[in-house]
Amino acid sequence: MSYTDNVIKTLQKQIEQFEKKVQTEEVGAVIEVKDGITLMTGLTSCQSQEMLEFPGGVYGIALNLEEETVGAVILGDYTHIKEGDEVKRTGRIMSTPVGDAMIGRVVNAVGDAIDGKGELNTKEFYPVERVAPGVMTREPVNTPMQTGIKAIDALIPIGRGQRELIIGDRQTGKTAIAIDAILNQKGQDVICVYVAIGQKDSKVARIASKLQEAGAMEYTIIVSAGASEPAPMSFLAPYTGCAIAEYFADKGKDVLIIYDDLTKQAWAYREMSLLLRRPPGREAYPGDVFYLHSRLLERACNLNEKYGGGSITALPIIETQGGDISAYVPTNVISITDGQIFLETDLFNRGIRPALNVGLSVSRVGGSAQTKPMKKVAGSLKLGLAQFRELEAFAQFSSDLDAETKKQIDRGQRMTELLKQPQFSPVPVEEQIISIFAMSEGIFDAVALDQVKAVDEALLQFFRASKSPLLEKIASGDWSDELKADVKASCAEFLKSRS
């Protein structure tokens, strides 16, 4: 039998098997349309969060269920919808397609591909809103999620399943940290989801091409709700991204998800709520703006073995205005997350990049996920930096300091210099440990301030070239006294080779 005959036969069979069914549909009529919000009558048994079909194949979500009317937001173009239009129930709670085919793609807030690489071949759907995993399914954070950024991995470590907020003014390198963290997951068997909320499409395109260039799109999915799309898309995008992340976490994978940024989602939700006539509260946000973020971030988790052992690490980003972290949304998200990375314009302009404020940044659970060698060496760094900060302010006014103070300040300046790191250049954790250990051993004390970076690079080069077994041992989490002595001796050897 030829190929065509075969196709025709299968087709015939399918058509013969087709059952003719009378479709029962429940409909309603549009009473009012304004700014992406509609009010409808009918739809008597419509559920909350249910998808509704408008003419022209546009979908909406039912949000307000009232005695006589249903209020919904329209996902997509609403200019053609008019009074009296028929609205159909779909019986489906808002859901997004999920699947392995999504990796390496750019999708919008409803899960449709927008990168021009053809349709997504996905079969499964996940509800966009889902209750977070419960107590019995979780276990404490115990594995590190290396970002490749020295200052973060050493001082504010992040563990798999943690929620660490990245907060700062505009132009302080918030996205840069997130992108570096994605780049560093290469070869770590981690799936990354980058959710761009209300971002410029040009920025998303730039990030996508950067990730592509670095080979990071092989394990990354970008969910984008652009600045030109209606507010409901921005509101929905984080939940869609989270549903996609949950699909992979349910399969036992580790997932890193970045919400860039939740301030814009809160704005979009405020807009929707005001149009739906929900009562405004502080800063005109609706009463449930806290729940908006808490239910999203609570879905980050570290599942125990019984439940597949997957994890979702969330890095939400919040943009502050003029460094005001006590505004409504920033305080909310700070209280929800397990710590924050605080970035400052001041530091950024002084050339300290990443512009991390070490004093205000914390990680409440990541410490237990740090590897042993990092935990050991980072202790001295933390202490040194804390002392330095105290002395720095006071040393500005007096030039003649005693030798001990002077030494501490010198050390502190070199530490700050060592923690500077250019964008798109993540450092493996074992090399971070060598650098920090060398600092605590005083290797950099005799080096001029502007030479610290070059010497650090030379040191790492030296280790990579002639001490690679040591690096491997450190990477495997070993930090015995023996190994420590070996590293110390190697550092001394390096110093000798330089002089």
Binding site: F18, K21, Q23, E25, T44, E68
Partner: protein
């Protein structure tokens, strides 16, 4: 928020149900005063339409709209109406895009037995 025509219709029906003569006159007067207060007089046409529909529904008369591709014979129409009960008011519409079959609408529910929707279902099944 302003009330919907349906809600006004319900108020009017409950106000006037089972009344006659002077009583009815008084009730209607009260209702008109209420409309003035609500600044809803301009909506009176929608309101009357909604009232007619509501009153029929209360008296147990169902309204169905049958849409078909071609004109249906009276016998078929009657038979369809019987399915929905004894007291049925039928409205018929012609929509050639259905290709064949019928679509019946009653209240907020649509029973779609048109060839068009069957083809759409088939398309969905084949892709």
């Amino acid at each position: 928020m302003a009330l919907l025509p349906k809600q006004y219709a319900r108020i009017l029906f409950e106000l006037t149900d089972g009344k006659s003569g002077d009583d009815l006159e008084l009730s209607v007067e009260t209702f008109v005063k209420f409309l003035i207060e609500e600044r809803a007089l301009s909506k009176k046409e929608y309101l009357m339409k909604a009232f007619k529909e509501y009153a029929k529904l209360q008296q147990g008369v169902k309204k169905i709209v049958i849409t078909s591709a071609r004109e249906l014979s009276e016998k078929i129409t009657e038979e369809i109406a019987l399915i929905f009960g004894k007291k049925v008011e039928v409205e018929t519409k012609i929509d050639t895009t259905l290709i064949g079959g019928i679509v019946v609408r009653t209240g907020d529910t649509i029973f779609d037995a048109s060839v068009k929707s069957q083809l759409e279902q088939l398309q969905r099944q084949l892709t």
